[in-house]
């Protein structure tokens, strides 16, 4: 105990708790609450029963009313603590409810019925994480299908982005050829003009190519990101040209130079682009929303949005499906958080 206290109050060498330390750690603890709190609240709420979800004011933890099996009744009966007229309290099972009264029985003596007014009963509850919302949710929310589509899109789009961007970056950073400056400038000038600005015409192109309701229509258009190309090119410029010349003298083909010298040496930049690409594609919404109209082609994000549109009031199902949707990326982050944050901080967006 004293050790913990010592750890908590330890400061910069002095024994007095410095005011800046206190402010710092207050800010950081507040940060943990503000950043994680909403997600935690969502997760806790998703385990509540449908009745509990709409209850106001809400309670922190999910509760479930305890039930008891009584001979002669098919269904388990809910338990209540009843305050009888003489002031004694008993734990009783409810047989049925009539108006403002509950007809209660003692589970050990089911013959005798005791009538108690509603306000004199309190349900017996215990904390319980029930999975009903998840089980019921996946019946109307095709989670497996959407997950599959999202994984396919993210995976292939990322591979394609890495491949085409790195090839182009290689050409633009290591060769002198006619049109190089033009190509580079045109690409860079579109850096700041996002896909959402050319919504209508891109949709026309997709329609002409016949990729409506096709995952290809989401995977291909975003693959030639100027951002990724720019990031990789800037990195490849730092690779010395002498390496390439030496390899050429040894008889290596240009493809071999690209795949076995340039790519391995660009790993930090490629890693950052991978992180960005996965983030962009996994969370992409506007584009899939336009290209996909058949529900079996939906990605997770589009599926979740249309799910909340369909079931506007059924919060208990929406909550459970939202948790399922944020789960994969959270697991990935839990394992790779250090690589992701350092990667972006050191290489990204400079």
């Amino acid at each position: 105990m004293s050790k913990i206290l010592g750890f908590l109050t330890r400061t910069r060498g002095t024994s007095k708790l410095h005011i800046t330390d206190m402010l710092t750690y207050t800010y950081l603890s507040l940060g943990v609450i503000v950043m994680f709190g909403p997600v935690l609240w969502l997760v806790l709420s998703s385990f509540k029963t449908s009745a509990e979800v709409v209850k106001f004011p809400p309670r922190l933890l999910p509760y479930k009313q305890e039930t008891v099996e009584v001979e002669g009744f098919e269904e388990p009966l809910p338990l209540y603590i009843a305050t009888l007229e003489d002031g004694t309290q008993m734990t009783l099972a409810q047989k049925r409810r009539v108006g403002l009264e509950r007809q209660l029985i003692d589970p050990s003596n089911p013959e005798e019925t005791i009538k108690v007014r509603l306000e004199n009963t309190v349900p017996v509850e215990s904390v319980s994480f029930n999975l009903d919302n998840y089980v019921e949710g996946v019946q109307s929310f095709n989670f497996a299908r959407y997950l599959w589509n999202s994984v396919i899109v993210t995976l292939f789009a990322t591979i394609l982005t890495l491949l085409t961007n790195s090839m182009a970056a290689f050409a633009l950073s290591k060769y002198q050829f006619r049109g190089r400056t033009t190509i580079f400038l045109v690409m860079i000038s579109t850096l700041m003009v996002p896909l959402s600005v050319v919504l209508v015409p891109v949709f026309l192109v997709i329609t002409k190519v016949g990729w409506n309701n096709n995952l290809l229509g989401i995977i291909i258009p975003g693959a030639a990101t100027p951002t990724g190309m720019f990031l990789l090119r800037q990195y490849m410029l730092t690779i010395p040209d002498e390496l390439l010349d030496a390899a050429r003298i040894d008889g290596a083909s240009e493809w071999r130079i690209y795949s076995q010298i340039i790519l391995p040496l660009s790993r930090p930049a490629l890693a950052v682009l991978t992180i960005f690409s996965v983030m962009w594609r996994w969370n992409d919404f506007l584009w899939p929303l336009i290209v996909l109209s058949r529900s079996e082609m939906f990605t997770l994000q589009v599926g979740l949005n249309s799910f909340q549109g369909e079931l506007n009031v059924q919060w208990h199902l929406i909550l459970a499906m939202t948790v399922l949707t944020l789960l994969p990326i959270t697991v990935v982050f839990a394992f790779l958080q250090k690589n992701i944050t350092t990667g972006i901080a050191t290489t990204g967006m400079k």
Partner: protein
């Protein structure tokens, strides 16, 4: 025991197959590209490398950008450009006709102007708050603290959440019978209509955007802070400068390049706000949180009469704003150099 060895051998076979496959592909590509190289010569290989990216870029980004002009200067509800009648600048006139530019009610396309005003207000307040919060967080994280990596990740985590998930999390908290109203009631207050009142809805859209994306800008600013040499601060403290003085005289000026990056990136992102709000308020209540991209989306894709021309004209105006923002950044950067 036998099961285990079997598993192992299966794994071995799989690994060998994968290896053989990758060797095969390297060989195959080498063969194709090698032959190509012999045929066209070393220097033209650059075109081969740049081609895939250029093709996708040309078809799906550059060509649509040019096509956007065709849409903007043609009218009607037909989707294919060949069937659309030329209308000149009518679409722009429709968008820009106002008796008074300060009052959206007097404009012909009043919803566009509402979206424009909403977006402008959103951008100003969101960017200001974003820069402030990220700066404070980055400075705190840059101090002598324990478990910096952990706290950095804490602030970054929401960045990974999809906009739809972010919207649903906060809708759940802010709805009429949600957590916040529960707390307010417990403290003896009255329920607040967070999502029904226009000002509250706008306020929360800003807060949520900052919550969801501040971690990213914090990382950029933190990287900028860590690049400031420590001996500068030592020299300052020897000269008797206070902490606040060191912050305003050393930290802020040297952090300016990172600040500009954050300002521009968050500004560009803010102009394009769409998905969070689409799932959070749907643009409501009324048109209180209707922003430009949603206006474009609804004109082109979700309204019964599809006015592609108006959508394209509006997106060209938006692209203009974005280009101006970028030019400002270039200008500031050049001034500094």
């Amino acid at each position: 025991m036998t099961v285990q060895t079997e598993n192992k051998s299966v794994k071995n076979i799989l690994e060998q197959m994968l290896n053989a496959l990758s060797v095969f592909f390297i060989w195959l590509f080498d063969l194709i590209f090698g032959t190509l190289q012999k045929w066209i010569g070393l220097n033209r290989m650059a075109y081969v490398f740049v081609l895939p990216n250029l093709l996708i870029f040309g078809i799906f980004i550059l060509f649509p950008m040019l096509l956007n002009f065709v849409y903007a200067f043609t009218g009607g509800t037909e989707f294919f450009p060949g069937q659309r009648p030329w209308v000149g600048t009518t679409n722009f006139e429709t968008l820009l006709t106002c008796e008074s530019f300060l009052d959206p009610n007097t404009c012909r396309e009043d919803i566009f102007w509402r979206a424009l005003f909403n977006t402008a207000g959103y951008v100003v307040f969101q960017v200001a708050l974003m820069v402030l919060v990220s700066l404070v967080t980055a400075v705190v994280l840059n101090g002598k603290i324990k478990a910096r990596g952990f706290f950095r990740s804490v602030f970054f985590y929401p960045v990974l959440l999809s906009p739809i998930v972010v919207a649903l999390i906060w809708k759940w908290i802010l709805q009429e019978n949600g957590l916040f109203n529960g707390i307010i009631i417990a403290l003896g207050g009255d329920k607040v209509p967070f999502l029904v009142d226009a000002q509250w809805a706008r306020f929360w859209v800003i807060i949520i955007s900052v919550w969801a994306f501040m971690g990213f800008y914090t990382l950029i600013l933190l990287a900028g802070l860590q690049a400031i040499p420590a001996d500068l601060y030592e020299a300052a403290s020897i000269d008797g400068a206070s902490g606040w003085n060191a912050f305003t005289r050393i930290t802020l000026p040297l952090l300016m390049p990172s600040m500009v990056v954050v300002l521009v990136l968050s500004g560009i992102r803010a102009v394009q706000i769409f998905d969070v709000v689409f799932a959070f308020t749907g643009g409501g209540p009324g048109t209180a949180t209707l922003y430009l991209v949603q206006y474009i989306y609804s004109k082109g894709f979700s309204s019964p009469s599809k006015q592609f021309g108006l959508a394209a004209a509006a997106s060209l105006l938006m692209a203009g704003v974005l280009i101006i923002l970028t030019l400002i950044q270039q200008f500031i950067r050049r001034e500094e150099e």
